[in-house]
Amino acid sequence: MGLEEKLPSGILLTSVEKLAGYMRKGSLWPATFGLACCAIEMMAVGTPRYDLARFGMEVFRASPRQADLMIVAGRVSQKMAPVLRQVYDQMPNPKWVLSMGVCASSGGMFNNYAIVQGVDHVVPVDIYLAGCPPRPEMLIDAILKLHDQIANEKLGAHRVAELREAERAGLTAKPTAQLKGLLR
């Protein structure tokens, strides 16, 4: 992006990270992307009663090029998946995805051939929200948890180190099929 990506790691980069995180979380603009019933609750969050403007997020942008956050609200059908991916690709970096409701997060009760079993098959998801549909308070709660993530996001050299660490952990992690928990 800019200068902040080329700073050496140290006190300067840490301060820039904090400032950038604070600014990014303070003006997170969501893309208008309602797919089903969850979109009704998403619209309710924009109304005066819940008032997303309190967090600087009231402008649901009609163009993905002006948006930072994609709230995937509703079930994603196989036919919608490429559209979803295109909207995501058209958003400028940095960008985040909130998977709202059980259908978007895992397919929910629609465990069938028509529905993508979780949007993380298509786009990287930053926060998952349960509920069918989640009440507006639940969405605000998820957005605030995402704000915390954004405020602590790393930049430049720190980001590279973080990604390398995540990749190393992913390669050494136990495959999901071998996880047992309490199962015998």
């Binding site: 005066p48 059980v102 895992s106 349960a130 069918c132 308070e137 998820a142 948890k145 928990g181």
Partner: protein
Amino acid sequence: MIALPTQLKGFGVTFSTMFKKVVTEQYPEEKKPTAPRFHGRHVLNRHPDGLERCIGCELCAWACPADAIYVEGADNAVDERYSPGERYGRVYQINYLRCIFCGLCIEACPTRALTMSNEYELAEDSRAKLIYEKQDLLGPLLPGMAPAPHPMVEGTSDEDYYKGHVSRATPAQEEYVAARDAAADEAGR
């Protein structure tokens, strides 16, 4: 200048709104209580002496339209008793990324082991974190309860539990739990 009165009327609405009460809920700071029967996160209940109510019958899993519940029952042993009667739920998982909070599991439960709370703040950054295991779902130990496993109240059967004849853990049960924890500590050292 014919349009002026209607324009004034319009601004009148805007002006009078300034004196109305604000409808905005200050959500994270002030949480308005939900309706009392709101369907929130599940709770696995306990009997008044701390034994678990779940008998591992899997009726909740069968009732679930989204296949969000996974139960694996096991037999109670004499020296390891989790619930009154024969069986208990050894594995109990609810996947909150499948659960649609319809409450059919609550209707299906024959022992009122599974109920719903009004808690709704369920957002995490990974799918695995939203699969709740038994230890996440079990209700808190209230005063008078001793943590399972421990024997039933002396001289009672499982029927007495369901008829409400057990009100709290007896001294014998509490002694058993203390001895069990001491033995576990000894083995851990």
